[in-house]
Symmetry: C2
Subunit: 365 residues, 2 copies
């Protein structure tokens, strides 16, 4: 069975190449996750590092799925499987508390990210999730290096590896390659070890169909997109945040990787190998260019939270996590339209490449 067929079998409603929406904390809530799956993608609900509301959120998602018109196509064998995934931030999420909700709602996938120890801490997660759902909940793991990919493959045999490159918004490895070299090197390393059955999704800097076609060329079966879905109607997001995503351009210059966005918000659980990419704002400039101490920077951040939507922007202090693809995001759309547009553009891109190929052949050695 090809990787593509395997994905279709596991998630019968998807169109290929597979487009997953990333489980962005507090943003990827049931409306976004269900809208993405309804449009033929795979939507992820963010459970994050505190799973207190997971059961309520899954109940909400289940209701949206039941009310979906047209219904989300599922094979009879998946009766009871919720056609969305759940993303965990594993350094903080509690396994026992999560398992009951997973058993009850059987999301089609879980997406693990950010354990203190990679892959060791994920072994009980994978084992117990598979046990309580009889394997109907598939295991996805996000990695950012070849070493992580190989270690996770050997320890867990996940169904999917989300291969995150340096362009990604939000948290990721502080030091990593982009998908341009990371995805092919991971693909080769897995092939050498007999893991051809693990699908790769490329993540980081991909916001349109050109990026999707590139990801397929590199050896991925699809993509995970975060930044693009920040500008979707169904994202749970402050208007100020969304406006900043539309404003920012030249993503490699207007965003930067840093731990400052966690420090000003008093978030301390991330293992040291991670930082996060966000649009440069006053918190960043104060910390990195002006050498401001965290305490003062945090005080200014807390003050800024009173400003509402005006707190976002280059002169603001609210965090705008976004990837380098932010400059390619120019409109807010329904998530379903994003999926349609990206798939269509990917297809047109491949058609263009195939057309150019016939010229190429004339000049090949």
């Amino acid at each position: 069975m090809t990787l593509r067929s395997a994905l279709h079998t596991a998630y019968p409603w998807i169109k290929t190449p597979l487009i997953a929406s990333a489980p962005m904390l507090r943003i990827a809530m049931p409306p976004l996750a269900v809208a993405v799956s309804r449009a033929g993608g795979l939507g992820f609900l963010a459970a994050g590092y505190d799973v207190a509301t997971l059961e309520t959120d899954l109940e909400h998602a289940a209701r949206l799925v039941r009310e979906s018109d047209p219904p989300i196509r599922q094979a009879p064998v998946e009766k009871g499987v919720l056609p969305i995934g759940v993303g965990f931030i594993n350094w903080g999420a509690d396994l026992t508390a999560s398992l009951e909700a997973i058993r009850k709602y059987t999301p089609c996938a879980v997406w693990f990210f950010g354990p203190v120890s990679q892959p060791d801490d994920l072994i009980p997660w994978a084992k117990q999730v598979r046990a309580v759902t009889s394997g109907r909940t598939r295991v996805w793991v996000q990695v950012g290096s070849v070493a992580e990919a190989v270690a996770v493959a050997e320890a867990l045999e996940p169904d999917v590896l989300v291969v995150q490159g340096s362009d990604a918004g939000g948290h990721g490895l502080a030091r990593s390659a982009s998908v341009i070299s990371l995805v092919p090197e991971v693909r080769d390393a897995l092939a050498e070890r007999g893991f051809d059955n693990i699908a790769l999704l490329a993540a980081g800097g991909i916001v349109d169909g050109r990026g999707v076609a590139a990801a397929l060329a590199l050896g991925a079966s699809g993509v995970a997109m975060g930044t693009r879905f920040l500008a979707s109607h169904e994202a749970t997001i402050a208007p100020g945040y969304q406006a900043e995503v539309l404003r920012a351009s030249d993503g490699g210059i207007s965003t930067a990787r840093s731990t400052v966005y966690d420090r000003v918000r008093d978030i301390h659980g991330w293992p040291r190998r991670y930082d996060g990419r966000g649009v440069i704002n006053e918190s960043y400039v104060d910390a990195v260019e002006r050498g401001m101490a965290d305490e003062e920077n945090r005080r200014l951040y807390v003050e800024e939270t009173m400003k509402g939507d005006a707190g976002w922007g280059p002169k603001g202090r609210m965090t705008t996590y976004a990837g380098t693809g932010v400059g390619l995001v120019r409109d807010t759309l329904p998530a379903g339209d994003i999926i349609k547009r990206v798939l269509l553009e990917a297809d047109e891109t491949i058609k263009r490449l195939a057309g150019e190929r016939s010229d190429t052949l004339l000049t090949l050695p």
Copy 2:
């Protein structure tokens, strides 16, 4: 005329997609440049920031071109045009000293990079090079952001922009996106301003045909490769350096961006916006993790130069500039075989994508 046709007209010996070899300082000398052009790529000679040997090097290249068997295909109109390019590091290279050599040998292209002021300092370069060769030497400029691309396009109208992403080895912008988002954002920004006639070459992290196919999907007309040609027979490179390129894997982890490699070698001319990506070694660890002062680090570097090839490696101190694609480079080959293999793999990749496309259509909305 399509971009592809324009490239064929300017450089009649090339196969498409165009593969250029980057003008790597002291490594991309006449044997590599001519071997790349002979195989249907576009080879660049590194003039660097000190052009004292430029005329001698061009004479050497001209001789290799004359002796080339089979000859490098050129149209009668290009009589006297040397079918290789010359790469300048513009913060240091002397324009007047360079012009005489350019006039005499008429390389098919010049590649500008690293002026103190971008694009202002390049305006006299572009104007005078075009004047002394009646436009037969084409102007290429390397950029690392959308802002640079637009400014250079407006100031110089170059024939080619080399769009360098964060994965590239050696010098580049300290902060930038990878080609995955940079190339499409540059392509769109140029199109909006009527610069559809400027070809883009993607650079950074591309070492095989999958990367080339990805670059084409993103909107480039070809690629510039550096790291892959470090492991070519024709590179002028220490065996210790080449061995380290073959050894290093997991390029996002084993390499890092830093200015330390310049500091230990007493190279001080690079404008502050640049640093360089190299394989992590003791110079890097001492500077970044152990807080060693530059003076001591430089002293240890100078000592290390006495060790010959043993000075390279993770425990050595000789600089191994390389991009994140270094883990995909596993063999040393003749440059011509690299070009053949990469073009073939790019073509196979596009064939694979086109084949998968027919399945996709069945499931498109």
